[in-house]
């Protein structure tokens, strides 16, 4: 039976793998629902994302396009908190992504706390160096399912492992008592 089971399972795996593999190309497939225009000197940028309003800490994919295309542009960004909130700015550089055409792609955890934030850009390109900032945007509170609870749940296999270690320790000691450690 096992001799039949092994090749059957492997064949089944290949059968699923071949057609499904091509589906990877369909991603990320985000539907953008919000666009924000930012003027940075001679460069006009458009920030698009798939969720509006955004939530603090929730990862949201952003596309950043530019009039005239993004080729030859280097763009650094900053999420800057408004004066009413205490938080550090978040900084980084925009990169292209294989799945996104004609736009930079940014996917990272959202702004750390809820409140008013704005984007700042530093653009280098054929028209020189320029900076610009967006209008303020309001980030809502983080998702209702708290992160700490997520970790508590996520570690559940580890709880099982710890229980198993103690159980096995007890089994070893019991077995050693029975045969006076003959096998130890």
């Amino acid at each position: 039976m096992l001799r039949k089971l092994a090749p059957t399972l492997f064949a089944l795996m290949l059968l699923v793998a071949v057609p499904s593999a091509a589906l990877a190309h369909n991603s990320p497939g985000w539907t953008m629902v919000h666009t924000e225009k930012v003027q940075a000197g001679p460069y006009t940028l458009y920030i698009e994302n798939n969720e509006w309003p955004v939530l603090a800490q929730k990862a949201t994919p952003y596309h950043v396009e530019a009039d005239g295309g993004i080729a030859n542009l280097t763009v650094k960004y900053r999420w800057v908190p408004g004066p009413a909130i205490t938080a550090k700015p978040v900084t980084g550089q925009l990169h292209t992504d294989p799945g996104v055409k004609d736009a930079f792609y940014l996917l990272r955890s959202g702004v750390p706390v809820a409140g008013a934030w704005h984007w700042e850009f530093e653009v280098d390109g054929p028209k020189g160096h320029a900076t610009g900032r967006s209008e303020d945007f309001m980030a809502g509170p983080p998702p209702a399912f708290p992160m700490w609870l997520g970790w508590l749940v996520g570690f559940y296999p580890v709880y099982g492992l710890i229980w198993f270690i103690f159980r096995e320790g007890a089994r070893r000691r019991r077995a050693m008592r029975l045969d006076e450690g003959a096998r130890a």
Binding site: L12, L23, R108, M147, G154, M176
Partner: protein, 387 residues
């Protein structure tokens, strides 16, 4: 020699044949799971687009699912045979589970590991809907997935240890050899699954205080597996054999995951990211010279009786020595060579020597002593595993 009647020995041996075949098959799929996860990490790092249906996902979910199916098959068939009173399947050769099933313990563990993996996979999908799709290895569901992979591998260790113990009990060597080879491979599978956590240690938690977390993890978990094998078999060679399998898997991951990523991206007509890693992310985190501490462990534990040292005393000492050497050759080779030859150390090396190298060495000594004791007990536990 066995106290069993010849007919009982024959039935027991037939059952062992079946279990060993199933164990090798389950272990193959556990390795596939490891390689799938390593490929997936590479894919996200270098290319990135993701749906559930990517080839790396098929490999690691398929690997764990099929390992689980094999275990389910063994559990169900063993339970049915136990109830029918089939020779070789009885209270002496099976472990009760949930009051309903009877099965060899290793298959139950790997089966539960697979179930845990799939539940964590569902949790991962749900997590993305709540917290968004931020591709990072350190997320609650990912920790669940990686830990489930560990459970899968622990089960295979128990499968082979059990068959080795049963062969020893029967007083035969015929099946002891495949069981021992299987055990060394299963320990290597366990270490491979551990390696995903080493990526986190390199990328996310580099130091605990002044101590390098990576080296501490290697000492504890690699020490557990290598010395556990030695404590089980009590014959030199198993640590080295385990390290050899591990090195082969590392080489496959080192060349295979970047190649597979390039080939898959090319097949889908996707370019690489601007900031692609291009080097094998998981394989680079796997200790490259594990054969060195493994040889030291085998050698020192074999020499211990001649030196009049009790194994329980010799084991932690051997582990400490082996892991200190491993740290120096794998992580600080440049510093060591400059100490051995009269070449002046660069300022950053001197700073690191005081800030991290010495505290890490101290950490390895303490962790090695604790883990030496733990690993020996782990090996003894495996010696008492036969059903």
């Amino acid at each position: 020699m066995s106290n069993l009647a010849p007919a009982a020995v024959k039935a027991d041996r037939a059952e062992s044949h079946f279990r060993l075949r199933a164990a090798f098959l389950a272990m193959f799929f556990v390795f596939l799971n490891f390689l799938g996860v390593a490929w997936d990490i590479q894919w996200h790092g270098d290319v990135g687009p993701d749906t559930f249906w990517t080839l790396p996902h098929i490999f690691f979910y398929g690997g764990t699912a099929f390992a689980g199916l094999i275990c389910l098959y063994v559990v169900l068939i063993t339970t049915a045979q136990y109830r029918k009173g089939v020779a070789g399947v009885n209270d002496e050769t099976t472990t009760p589970w949930l009051g309903l099933f009877r099965a060899p313990m290793g298959f139950v563990i790997t089966g539960l590991g697979s179930l845990t993996f799939l539940i964590s996979g569902i949790y991962d999908q749900w997590w993305h809907s709540i917290w968004g799709f931020d591709v990072t290895l350190v997320s609650p569901p990912h920790i669940g997935l990686l830990s489930a992979g560990l459970i899968n591998a622990v089960g295979t260790v128990y499968m082979f240890a059990s068959e080795g113990s049963r062969a020893t009990k029967r007083g035969e060597t015929g099946l002891l050899r495949p069981a021992t080879i299987g055990l060394s491979m299963a320990l290597a599978a366990l270490l491979a699954e551990v390696s995903h956590f080493l990526v986190i240690a390199i990328d996310n938690i580099r130091y605990i205080g002044p101590i390098e977390f990576y080296s501490l993890l290697v000492t504890m978990l690699f020490g557990l597996a290598l010395l556990g094998g030695v404590a089980y078999l009590r014959r030199p060679g198993i640590a080295t054999l385990t390290a050899l399998w591990f090195t082969i898997v590392r080489v496959i991951a080192l060349y295979g995951t970047p190649w597979a990523t390039t080939a898959y991206a090319s097949a889908l007509n996707l370019p690489f990211r601007e900031n692609a890693h291009r080097v094998a992310i998981v394989a680079v985190a796997m200790p490259a010279l594990l054969i060195v501490p493994a040889l030291i462990l085998d050698l020192l534990t074999a020499l211990a009786p001649r030196l009049g040292l009790r194994p329980r005393v010799a084991a932690p000492l051997a582990l400490v020595f082996a892991m200190v050497v491993n740290f120096l050759v794998d992580r600080r080779l440049e510093v060591v060579t400059r100490l051995l030859w009269p070449v002046q150390m660069q300022p950053h090396m001197l700073t690191d020597l005081a800030a991290h190298t010495m505290p890490t060495l101290l950490g390895i000594v303490v962790a090695g002593i604790i883990m030496g004791w733990g690993a020996w007990n782990f090996g003894v536990t495996l010696r008492y595993t036969d059903k």
